[in-house]
């Protein structure tokens, strides 16, 4: 069998999913009737936001110019930096990568990042310039940039329009010609890589596998090497994109495996599947994706805690990057400290919890994981400000750093350098990709990047800069915990661990916001920001002085009652923090990121 396995990789929005549409269409995998834009983006949120969140594998069959039929296993990957681990996983199941660049935008940060991933994985790269139909397209320039990044001849670049379908035939030919045939060793004992999995309510866990050696047959008893779990393959098949059952998946093929396992935690993505009873060398697996940011999620209504737990369990079935553990907050009650790949990931999870599981949530300020080395030598990970031991027990603290890559038109270098300086960045490298475009490499604290760095970068460069980053290391840092006190009582939900230089700014901003958000009470409510016992900022919500309906409207006494009744309903959405009534929204609004820096 002629097999070609490849991923489509690119910077966000450069047209991967649309290109996949054309390939599906051209190979007849999908009928005109079933066709819709970005047909592989099946989740509601993917369709609404117009982005790919989860990688999708699909099998196509095409007849090439040589008259032969080829099986193409295509994996469409997400472009957003939060989901770059999906790209790495997908690449491990392939021999080739179609690297797409938008003809109007040229090489961007994730173009480079993904290109490096493909090169590291030893894949054959097919350079593609897409969107050549755009009026603003500069295909030659984009091709030149791509060629220089990859060190190839610009003549090798394929020009396509995923919108009009132009160049698709040529691309198919190039895939057939250039993507290496997988090494097929059917006689070897079975080794298959689980490169993804999802949970199906009826069929249990569905594993996406790439068979490397041997063959995987319906009914085989298989062993998951890492977990030592033995199961029967109750179904194997391929995605066309509809799941189609097949008797067997041969070496080099990509498909799915169902074993009837219902608990997703029993299957590990990156694991090697072999035949029970045969000892094999496991394939190089994956590192579990590491959460970048943590945030506490609490049900607005304390009664919903169990429902939140169930919802998180279900979401985790299809999203192993989501991690969570129970957390208790004095202000917010019982909830979970959740780890996310980034703010987009966090937003998506929150939105899914609220929409698909009808939960009303309060989220605490997102924070990165710090490390505290204690005076007794222990190293403790600090995922929540609450985890931080007293200052006297801490020897020193470290914070995670990133290697960040920024690509921008050269005229913006000045403003970028300025921005990065305010974020405690250290420049490592700067290089002109072309006379007009610069690549900047920085080492930056994660905490300075994940929240609003990109928004700031975009607004300073009128949207022309792109950003990619990857974890680097931990560095010693002067970190402090800022507590926010209402009426002298710390509200854990508002505490944050932050660099000392930023503490005052954070404290002042929170205190000012809260003064506006907290309604007047029967007594003066001091709002303070403090580091330990040192107050760094304070405001006061003055006591209510007048709260009474002046008049009893003639004999209409029910009117007053109804008015009060309405006000009382409003008060229901209050949380008590000590003696202070704090509206539910105050938690959300006070913690909202702001663009006004």
């Amino acid at each position: 069998m002629n097999i070609r396995n490849f991923s489509i990789i690119a910077h966000i929005d450069h047209g991967k999913s649309t290109l996949a549409d054309r390939l599906l269409e051209r190979t007849g995998a999908i009928s005109a009737r079933e066709m819709r834009e970005q047909v592989l983006d099946t989740m509601d949120l993917e369709r609404e936001r117009g982005i790919t969140i989860k990688a999708q594998a699909v099998r196509l069959v095409c007849r090439a110019a040589d008259g032969q039929d080829y099986v193409l296993n295509l994996i469409d990957t997400p472009g957003h930096v939060d989901f770059s681990y999906e790209v790495s996983r997908s690449l491990a199941a392939c021999e080739g990568a179609v690297l797409v660049v938008d003809a109007a935008q040229g090489v961007q940060a994730q173009t480079l990042a993904n290109a490096f991933l493909a090169i590291e994985a030893g894949l054959e790269i097919i350079p593609v310039v897409n969107k050549i139909d755009l009026p603003a397209a500069e295909p030659e320039r984009a091709a030149a940039e791509l060629a220089s990044v990859l060190g190839i001849d610009p003549a090798e670049v394929v020009f396509v329009s995923a919108k009009t379908g132009g160049g698709i035939d040529e691309l198919l030919e190039r895939i057939v010609r250039d993507v290496p045939t997988p090494l097929q060793r059917p006689d070897q004992p079975l080794r298959a890589l689980v490169f993804d999995s999802y949970y199906d309510a009826y069929r249990g866990v569905v594993c996406y596998v790439r068979v490397v050696d041997g063959s995987l047959n319906d009914g085989d008893t298989v062993l998951f090497t890492a977990t030592s779990e033995k199961h029967q393959a109750t179904e194997v098949g391929v995605l066309t994109p509809r799941a189609v059952r097949v008797p067997s998946l041969g070496a080099g093929e990509v498909g799915y495996l169902i074993t009837g396992v219902k608990e997703i935690d029993r299957i590990r993505v990156g694991d090697t599947v072999s035949h029970a009873g045969r000892t094999v060398e496991p394939l190089p697996g994956y590192q579990d994706p590491k959460p970048m940011v943590y945030s506490g999620l609490f049900p607005a209504d304390g009664e919903d805690f169990e429902r939140l737990r169930e919802a998180l369990e279900k979401l985790r079935l299809n999203d192993s990057a989501l991690v969570y553990e129970p957390e208790t907050s004095r202000a917010l009650g019982f909830g979970f400290r959740c780890g996310f790949l980034g703010l987009l990931h966090m937003e998506i999870i929150r939105e899914r919890l609220e929409r698909e599981y009808d939960l009303d949530l309060v989220a605490t300020a997102p924070s990165v994981a710090y490390r505290a080395t204690l005076t007794n030598g222990f190293v403790q990970e600090i995922r929540s400000p609450q985890d931080l031991p007293g200052a006297d027990q801490i020897d020193h603290m470290e914070e995670p750093f990133l290697k960040a890559m920024i690509i921008a038109p050269s005229e913006y270098v000045g403003t970028i350098i300025e921005l990065v300086q305010t974020r405690r960045g250290v420049m490592e490298h700067m290089q002109y990709l072309s006379p007009e475009r610069v690549e900047l490499i920085y080492h930056l604290p994660l905490a300075e990047v994940v929240f609003d760095f990109f928004d700031n970068l975009k607004s300073r460069t009128r949207g022309y800069a792109s950003l990619d980053y990857e974890p680097l290391d931990y560095r010693v840092s002067d970190l402090v915990r800022v507590d926010i006190l209402l009426n002298s009582q710390a509200v854990d939900a508002f505490s944050t661990v932050i660099h000392r230089d930023k503490a005052y700014q954070y404290g002042k901003r929170m205190v000012e916001r809260l003064r506006k958000l907290i309604p007047r009470q029967l007594f003066d409510v001091p709002i303070q920001a403090a580091i330990g016992s040192r107050v760094i900022s304070r405001e006061t919500v003055k006591a209510t002085r007048k709260d009474v309906i002046a008049k009893c409207y003639g004999g209409d006494v029910s009117r007053k009652r109804k008015l009060l009744e309405r006000q009382k309903e409003g008060k229901k959405r209050m949380k008590m923090v000590g003696q202070v009534e704090v509206p539910q929204e105050a938690f959300i609004l006070a913690l909202q990121a702001d663009g006004d820096e």
């Binding site: 029967l522 007594f523 003055k542 209510t544 002085r545 007048k546 709260d547 009474v548 309906i549 002046a550 008049k551 009893c552 409207y553 003639g554 004999g555 209409d556 006494v557 029910s558 007053k560 009652r561 009060l564 009744e565 006000q567 009382k568 008060k571 003696q579």
Partner: protein
């Protein structure tokens, strides 16, 4: 001799009023609509006064017999836009229908610009002996922003005319906290009102009611009343009234001994009253009927021999207990705690209100010690559950 003998804030008086009967008559006609007003009023419909009075009389005639009235209150709108014969006929009808108790309070509201000897004298002949003037302010600028047309001098004259024609009890209504009103202006207004030696003073904070011109203006950016400035004004007035010998007996009301407003005492005591005219609300046997609010609909129905009632509210026993507290706690005399009061005192919110010095317990009565925060108590009462202890 009035039935409201004694200090207006006396607990005995406050409680006794629960058993008294009253009648309310609504006269909706006004010269123009004040921007803050959301009563059932009409402007430019004076041609309908005659029909309206006839309808009122018919409505009174249709009302089932009842007990003698301790108070008749003719409110508005602007009752003083009618002639004494009209206003007199209504009182006459009420008297013949229900009877008037000895010393019953017969009261009407009047605007200073309407008031003159002939009117005052006529009303006295017709049996009115208490008048409440909508003075609102003695500051021309404030009067203007309230949309009032009378002058400070007209207000002063009206009071003296009432005095000379033998009105036994005279009230002055003032409004404080109008945006733009300074503390100096307000102090002067209160001083000038007190100089007229009224028997009764009602001081209302300007309130922005939904759907009024004022509320629309504020939405469009006009300044809103400032609750802190209103609190200042209230405290200023409280001190001035005390010095002048007026007794504070309800959130917004002060009176000399023997001059507590009987009709109001009845409403705050959850007492009973019949009510006539558009938008009027009655209260009998636990039922609170309300009349149609639109003038033409009202006239048509009553002229056609039909009831003007648009609906009625009936509360369950717990609802009535809550209502008793909401109303009774407006009085400085407070309430006998009863089932609801006990529950409030035992509740967490009640405890917080006591700690904050808003709610107090004195001589077996529950009182709001800081009347300006009365609604904090009101909401705490509403939040109680029937079973709560």
């Amino acid at each position: 001799m009035t039935v409201a003998i004694g200090p207006p804030d006396s607990a005995d008086l406050a409680d006794a009023a629960a058993d008294w009967a009253a009648a309310y008559v609504h006269i909706p006609f006004c010269a123009r609509l004040c921007p803050y007003c959301d009563f059932a009023v009409v402007a430019g419909r004076d041609e309908a006064t005659h029909r309206y009075v006839s309808a009122l009389r018919k409505e009174i005639a249709m009302e089932p017999e009842w007990r003698p009235l301790r108070a008749v209150y003719v409110g508005g709108g602007t009752p003083s836009r009618l002639v004494p014969e009209q206003l007199g006929s209504v009182v006459g009808d009420l008297e013949s229908r229900f009877g008037l108790a000895d010393g019953a309070e017969v009261s009407l509201e009047a605007n200073p610009e309407d008031w003159n000897f002939a009117l005052a004298d006529g009303l006295r002949q017709a049996g009115y002996e208490r008048v409440s003037f909508g003075v609102q302010s003695f500051d021309p600028a404030v009067l203007k922003s309230l949309g009032r047309v009378h002058t400070p001098d007209q207000a002063a004259t009206a009071v003296s005319v009432a005095r000379q024609t033998g009105f036994r009890s005279i009230n002055i209504d003032l409004i404080f906290g109008t945006p733009g009103e300074t503390n100096v202006s307000w102090r002067d207004t209160v001083d000038r009102a007190l100089a007229l030696e009224p028997d009764h003073l009602s001081l209302y904070a300007l309130t922005v009611e939904r759907g009024t011109a004022l509320s629309r203006a504020i939405s469009a950016g006009a300044p809103a009343p400032d609750p802190d400035a209103q609190a200042d004004a209230y405290e200023t007035a409280e001190a001035l009234c005390r010095t002048a010998g007026l007794v504070h007996y309800e959130v917004s009301n002060w009176a000399r001994p023997d001059h507590g407003c009987v009709y109001n005492l009845i409403t705050w005591a959850q007492g009973e009253y019949v009510a006539f005219g558009i938008g009027a609300h009655g209260h009998r046997q636990g039922i609170r009927p309300r009349n149609l609010r639109r003038l033409d609909a009202y006239l048509d129905r009553v002229e056609g021999g039909l009831s003007a009632e648009q609906g009625a509210e009936t509360l369950d026993p717990w609802g009535r207990e809550v209502e008793r507290l909401l109303l009774g706690l407006r009085r400085i005399a407070g309430v006998v705690p009863g089932r609801g009061g006990e529950a409030l005192l035992a509740s967490l919110r009640g405890e917080r209100l006591r700690e904050a010095g808003v709610l107090g317990l004195a001589a077996g009565r529950m009182v709001v010690l800081r009347p300006l925060l009365g609604d904090e108590v009101g909401r705490a009462v509403l939040a109680l559950q029937p079973g709560e202890r």
